[in-house]
C-alpha cells in the first residue's frame, strides 16, 4: 500500500567530505512531497542560502516525482535541485529518462548530497541498488564526455540500470553545466536537467555519476489500486484521443513560434527568423524516411513519445532529442540555418554537459558583440569543444550568457537573475515575462508558460501565478508537462496513490507552498523585489509588427507573488512547459 510504502520509503544521504553513505527513513510529514516540492523543502530546511554554490555547504538533491515508479503514464521524471551557481538562488531542473522511476521503485524518495572532498581532483560514483548504496571510486572516468562515460558504465552495471552523469563542464564547475540522465531504451545521456548549472554543483562534490539498478523492484502499489488503475486507463485514453500536439516532438512548434514573433533571432533583435523553413521540425520528420531514426519515449510508461532520434546524412545516430528550445537558441538565435549543424551542436552540448539554452544564448551574445560572425556554425562547434578543453574562452562560454556579456561588455544580454531567457519571448508574451521576473528559478519557461498574446493586462499577474502554481505541482508529481495534467488530475492520482481524499484546497496549498519555499530561500539568499525585473534590452528593443517591448508595470509583476483566490481555471488549466 502506498501509505505503508511511504513509511518504508527512505532517503539516501551522501556526505562527500567523509565519503560516507547513510540510508534513513523518509519523514512521514513529507509524504505528498516529491520532485521539485521535495527538493525545495529539503533545501529550505537544510541548506544555508548564503552559501557558496560551489562550496561544501551547498546541497545537491536528486528527487523523483511523487508518482514516479507507479503505473501512471509519463510520470517518472526526476528533479535535480540545489543553490544555483548561475543565479545564486534556489534552482530545480527537471529531467526525463529512467533514473527517477528506478529510484522510487526501490523506495528511495531522494538522494541528498552534502559536503565536498578535500581533493578536488578525485571522482566518485554512487551505486544504488536494492541490496546496497555505496560510493565507488571513479577516477578512471574523470574528464569523460557523457556518452563515453555511460558506455563505460554499461560494462559495469546491469542492462537495466540507468545513469545520472556529468560531463567535463560539470567537472570544471562551469555555471552552464547540466546533469544528464539516460534514455530508457538506448541509455544515451540525452535527457538533461539542464538549467541553472546544477552540473557544476554535482561536479563540485566530486560526483561523476549515479547508477541506479532497479533489479526486480516492482511498480509502486497504490493505496486504492482499483481506483488508480481506472485513472490510468481514463487519463491515457483521454490523452491518446486528444490532439497529441507533440506527436512529432516540440520541434514542430517552430512555425507557430515564428508566426507569433517568438522565435528569437540574432540575439533576440528579431522574433522571426529567415531560416524558419530550414529549422522547422518537419525537416527532422522528413529525414526519418531516408536516414532512419524516429520518435520514441525517453522514460518507461510514457505515452507522449515526443523525443526524436536524429540521424546524420550517413544514417548513423547523431542525437536525441532535438527540441524547440535548442533549435531556437543554438539555431535561429545564432543565425545558424542548417538543421544538421544544430544537431551537431545539440550532441556536443549533451556530451560536454551544458544547457543548450544557456549555451545558445551565450554564443549569440558573443556573436552580437562582434567576436564571431552570426551563422558561423563551425565556429560555434569549436567554441563548444573549447568548453571541454577548459580554455579561457571555453570557460566563459560554459559559464553562460551573463559571463559572455561581462567579458565583452556587450549591451544586449538577455538574462534574468543571471539565467538566459528561453525561446518564449517576454515581449509579445507579457504574462510569461511576469513568470520570468517573479519565479525563483530565473528566466525559465517551464516555471510557468502562458502563450496568449491577446491576454489583457489585468490578467497577466493571475495567469502567471496560476501557471507557476500548476507547474510547481506538476514538477513535484513526476508527470511530464507534455502530458498536460491539471491540478484536478494530479490530486485524483494522489488520492488513489495514498488511499485518501486529497482536496482541491490541499493540492493548491501544496503548489503554493513550493513557490513560497523557493521565494523564501531566495529572500534568505539576499534577493529582494528589486530583483524581479527583466533586462533593459527587453524594455528597449521592440520586436514584431506591434513593436512589442516588455513594459509591464512593477506593481503588476508584484501581484503575481501575492496569493489570489483560487478560481476554476486553477484546477482545470493544463500544465504547459
Amino acid at each position: 500500500m502506498a501509505g505503508k510504502e511511504a513509511i518504508d520509503d527512505r532517503l539516501i544521504r551522501v556526505d562527500m567530505t567523509t565519503q560516507s553513505v547513510s540510508v534513513v527513513p523518509f519523514p512521514e510529514g513529507w509524504k505528498l512531497l516529491g520532485g521539485r516540492g521535495l527538493s525545495a523543502r529539503i533545501l529550505l530546511e537544510e541548506c544555508d542560502p548564503s552559501c557558496d554554490p560551489l562550496g561544501p555547504d551547498n546541497i545537491l538533491v536528486l528527487a523523483p516525482g511523487t508518482l514516479a515508479g507507479t503505473s501512471a503514464p509519463t510520470s517518472g521524471r526526476i528533479s535535480v535541485g540545489g543553490k544555483s551557481p548561475l543565479t545564486n538562488g534556489i534552482k530545480e531542473a527537471n529531467s526525463g529518462g529512467n533514473p527517477g522511476q528506478h529510484l522510487n521503485k526501490l523506495g528511495y524518495r531522494a538522494i541528498i548530497v552534502t559536503g565536498q572532498p578535500a581533493d578536488s581532483g578525485r571522482r566518485w560514483g554512487l551505486s544504488v541498488s536494492a541490496d546496497e548504496v555505496k560510493l565507488v571510486e571513479a577516477d578512471a572516468l574523470k574528464g569523460r564526455w557523457n556518452y563515453a562515460c555511460c558506455e563505460e558504465l554499461t560494462k559495469t552495471y546491469s542492462k537495466n540500470a540507468s545513469f545520472i552523469t556529468i560531463g567535463p563542464a560539470g567537472e570544471l564547475r562551469l555555471t552552464g553545466a547540466s546533469v544528464a540522465c539516460t534514455d530508457q531504451d538506448s541509455r544515451h545521456p540525452a535527457r538533461h536537467a539542464a538549467r541553472g548549472g546544477l552540473g557544476a554543483v554535482m561536479g563540485s562534490k566530486g560526483l561523476k555519476y549515479v547508477a541506479v539498478d532497479p533489479g526486480k523492484s516492482r511498480a509502486r502499489q497504490p493505496g486504492d489500486s482499483k481506483g488508480f488503475a481506472a485513472l490510468v486507463k481514463k487519463f491515457t485514453r483521454n490523452f491518446l484521443d486528444g490532439p497529441q500536439m507533440f506527436q512529432f516532438g516540440t520541434s514542430s512548434v517552430v512555425p507557430v513560434a515564428n508566426m507569433l514573433h517568438t522565435f528569437p533571432t540574432r540575439n533576440r533583435v528579431s522574433g522571426q527568423s529567415p531560416h524558419a523553413e530550414s529549422l522547422d521540425g518537419k525537416r527532422i520528420v522528413e529525414s526519418f524516411e531516408t536516414r532512419g531514426g524516429g520518435m520514441h519515449n525517453c522514460l518507461t510508461g510514457c505515452v507522449v513519445k515526443c523525443s526524436n532520434i536524429v540521424h546524420d546524412a550517413e544514417g548513423k545516430y547523431k542525437t536525441s532529442a532535438l527540441e524547440f528550445e535548442t533549435i531556437t537558441l543554438l539555431g535561429a538565435n545564432c543565425d545558424i540555418s542548417d538543421m544538421d549543424d544544430v544537431a551537431d551542436l545539440d550532441r556536443l552540448c549533451d556530451e560536454i554537459g551544458v544547457d543548450t539554452i544557456e549555451t545558445g544564448a551565450a554564443i549569440a551574445v558573443y556573436m552580437d558583440a562582434g567576436e564571431m560572425e552570426f551563422g558561423d556554425a563551425e565556429g560555434a562547434k569549436r567554441l563548444l569543444k573549447e568548453i571541454a578543453e577548459g580554455s579561457e574562452i571555453g570557460k566563459t562560454i560554459g559559464n553562460g550568457a551573463a559571463a559572455v556579456g561581462k567579458r565583452t561588455k556587450h549591451h544586449r544580454v538577455p538574462v534574468v537573475r543571471g539565467q538566459a531567457i528561453p525561446a518564449w519571448d517576454p515581449r509579445p508574451l507579457k504574462a510569461t515575462g511576469v513568470t520570468y521576473a517573479t519565479s525563483a528559478m530565473g528566466a525559465d519557461h517551464t516555471a510557468g508558460l502562458i502563450v496568449n498574446p491577446g491576454l489583457p493586462e489585468d490578467q497577466w499577474a493571475q495567469a502567471s501565478q496560476e501557471s507557476q502554481l500548476i507547474n510547481a505541482v506538476c514538477d513535484s508529481s513526476g508527470f511530464c508537462q507534455f502530458m498536460t495534467p491539471t491540478l484536478d488530475d494530479i490530486r485524483q492520482f494522489y488520492s488513489a496513490l495514498f488511499g485518501e481524499e486529497i482536496t482541491r484546497e490541499q493540492i493548491a496549498d501544496l503548489g503554493w507552498q513550493v513557490l513560497q519555499d523557493e521565494w523564501e530561500f531566495n529572500r534568505r539568499a539576499g534577493f529582494t523585489a528589486a530583483d524581479d525585473v527583466l533586462p533593459d534590452c527587453m524594455a528597449q528593443d521592440p520586436i514584431g509588427p506591434t513593436n512589442a517591448v516588455f513594459d509591464v508595470k512593477p506593481e503588476i509583476i508584484a501581484q503575481a507573488k501575492v496569493r489570489m483566490d483560487a478560481r476554476e481555471e486553477l484546477f482545470s488549466t493544463k500544465a504547459t512547459g
Binding site: P243, M245, V253, A257, K282, A423, H445, N452, G454, T576
Partner: protein
C-alpha cells in the same frame, strides 16, 4: 450559429476573445468568418495555399477532424475547436 473556440496562442487577433460565434456552413467558411472579423487570424490557421497549417488541429464537437476536412459541413449548434501546439522544451 456555429461557435469557433480560439486557442490562447491565437487570441492576439481576436483581442483576447476565446470564442466567436460566426456564420458558416463549412469549417472553412467559419474560419474565414473569424478572419473577416479578426484580421490576422487567418494566416495562423491557413497556409498561403489555403490549406490548414500543419501544426493546427481541428475538432468538431470534441471529435477530431481529419486534417483535410476543411469543407466538412457545420451545423448551427456545432462547436469548432482550433488547437495549436504550444510549449516546448
Amino acid at each position: 450559429m456555429p461557435r469557433v473556440m480560439i486557442p490562447p496562442p491565437y487570441r492576439g487577433p481576436t483581442q483576447g476573445r476565446a470564442e466567436l460565434t460566426v456564420a458558416g456552413a463549412s469549417v472553412r467558411e467559419c474560419l474565414n468568418a473569424v478572419e473577416a472579423e479578426c484580421p490576422g487570424f487567418g494566416p495562423l490557421v491557413f497556409s498561403e495555399a489555403g490549406e490548414l497549417q500543419r501544426f493546427v488541429k481541428l475538432f468538431r464537437n470534441s471529435e477530431a477532424l481529419a486534417h483535410g476536412a476543411l469543407d466538412a459541413p457545420v451545423a448551427d449548434d456545432d462547436e469548432i475547436a482550433v488547437v495549436a501546439a504550444i510549449g516546448g522544451g
